[in-house]
């Protein structure tokens, strides 16, 4: 007889607003097991507390790690994999500093490239290896529409997200003949702590809950790339084809 096992979901950067909304959807599923990874245990623990009230029957574990240390990331992935098969991994860390600050202070540039590109890529690398061993599981990375075309007001963040896109596509290629799925999510502007300092005229920010619903469904279906809300696919298709000699004169 096959034992009915839980659905194990690893959420890296579980304190992210978008990730929390995903967790709230996953935690109420039957037999949910969530592993919440954060850089600060106590703040990640309060996310767990919220989820425990929402779904007392779910199993929820909190793990802390250093998001910039390759060895720590590898060890974390190995530890989680050693205690059971992983079904889903969501990697969500990100920061969005002002572009001007990135230009003036290389430390800020460095952190942005580290947290938005290097760190999630390393987590993805570490987890995909384990998914491949089991020939099972779905991993999602949070890219951004900002990664589709670089512009003067957001190129440090945007280029980091573009790296993630290449990385995700590489993993998709590598996993094409397996049952492992790698999904790249590209949200448009979303109402979360990351964007509270932004006000973009004429653009309505999506709710984190709306974006989370799209993430959960894209992961269920194993889609390769998903824009959320969908309208951003159309918008970015147009923005990508504007010739550079025009684009570079635009104030974006």
């Amino acid at each position: 007889m096959k034992m009915q096992s839980k659905t194990r979901t690893v959420i890296v950067s579980a304190t992210s607003c978008i990730a929390q909304e995903c967790a709230r959807l996953w935690v109420i599923e039957k037999d949910a097991e969530l592993i919440l990874v954060g850089r600060d245990r106590s703040r990640t623990e309060s996310v767990a507390q919220d989820l425990r009230v929402r779904a007392p029957q779910a199993s929820i574990e909190v793990m802390e790690t250093n998001f910039e240390d390759p060895q720590a990331i590898q060890t974390l992935a190995d530890t989680i994999a050693s205690t059971g098969k992983i079904d889903r991994v969501l990697i969500a860390q990100g920061i969005l500093p002002q572009q001007a600050d990135c230009q003036q202070d290389l430390n800020i540039s460095y952190n942005t490239l580290m947290i938005d590109a290097v760190s999630p890529a390393l987590f993805a690398e570490a987890f995909v290896g384990h998914l491949q061993k089991n020939n099972h599981g779905t991993l999602a990375l949070l890219g951004s529409v900002a990664g589709d075309r670089a512009r003067k007001s957001m190129y440090t963040y945007g280029s980091a997200k573009a790296l993630l896109e290449h990385f995700a596509r590489g993993l998709q290629h590598r996993c094409a003949h397996s049952k492992v799925k790698v999904v790249l999510i590209k949200p448009g502007p979303t109402n979360t702590p990351m964007t509270t300092h932004l006000e973009i005229k004429g653009i309505k920010f999506a709710s984190a809950n709306r974006v989370a619903k799209d993430i959960v469904s894209a992961m269920n279906r194993g889609k390769l790339v998903v824009y959320t809300p969908k309208i951003w696919f159309a918008i970015m298709t147009i923005i990508r084809i504007i010739p550079s000699f025009i684009f570079n004169k635009m104030n974006l």
Binding site: D50, P56, T192
Partner: protein, 430 residues
Amino acid sequence: MKMSSWGRLSAEEHRVLTLSRDRLNAISSSQKPGLAYGMGRSYGDVCLNPGNTLWDTHQLDHFIEFDAKTGMLSCEAGVLLGEIQKIMIPRGWMLPVSPGTQFVTLGGAIANDIHGKNHHRFGSFGDHVFSLSLLRTDGQIIECSLDKNSNWFSATIGGVGLTGLITQACIQLRPVSGPWFQSESIAYSSLKDFFQLADDSERDWEYTVSWVDCYSKHKGRGIFVRGNQSDHDSPYVFPKKLHVPFTPPISLINRFSLPLFNALYYHRLAKKRGLEFIDYEPFLYPLDNILEWNRIYGTHGFFQYQCVIPRAQGLESITEMLNQISASTEGSFLSVLKTFGQRDALGMISFPKPGVTLALDFPNKGSSTLKLLTRLDSIVQAAQGRIYLAKDTRMSKALFMQGYPRLGEFLKYKDPGISSALSRRLMETE
């Protein structure tokens, strides 16, 4: 950012600061006075602060703890009442008091000390708050309850956001057997019958409310709805939510449509006469099925007017108000009449008090609407009644001071770093 309340009477510039649990101290760093903003489901200017800052609480949406034995729930102030219902009802617990919409925050429910259809049985929201944490703009955190810092507690309940930011609260839920209600609708033909029905129903029915026709030919008739929690059990199919997709240039509620709407509404409800089983959502939140219904009043928005009149003057004053309305060319469609129970609210400036409450809405037609509201004010004033702050944009200071006699006591607890359009209008001395 331009911000409005539910009545859409204004859309003025505000600086909006979204609070998150890690950045609560942001409320101290502002030069200009701030004000907590929940879902903006208040109709008036109680949740607005033009030219100044609004602290948007929607990201303070975490549950903290739930004791399944006692029904005590702690959560952050931005959690929606609907979210609490959705999660807790399947586990056998429900909010004891809930307004006519579930799209309001816990903080907003406390700050307006909201009431529901079961006031005569359960009082107002503040009666079920066990404790709360208040953050002042000077950084001080005040934990309060009936036993601890009780003055702060009763200033903050119904304190319309002026005593500080409520960051979290612990509330007592009530045990229920499921999501079902048994409800009965009864048509009545006069206000006298309404009061009779209310008196006859209060003992055996937890929830009572009525819709009253304000249109001249039939004014005073209405539909009385009463309900009880029920252990009925069967799956419920939710109707699809409708959405008002845009704001029409003129109000769809107007002189021509009103008699028709009123008649349709009356007959639709009257047809449902008798007993039925109904899920908590359509029973408690009938309007939530039409998203953004406030747009039907057009670009000028609408006034809500809600008063409470002591019972002794109830019949006479309400009759007089309906006369005034039908004599005017303004008409109210969603007119709700309900009796409050014999209990004073906990909050120093809470709205509910023993008597009968009438809630009306009028499309904003400018001075003619305002004139009618002033006439209604004088009826309220003569009857020693008061007007609900959550709905007001325009009452006089005199009526406010008369209606809220504990104002002087309350002002000792006001946070100097907080203001609202309402506080500037009614509480500041020139």
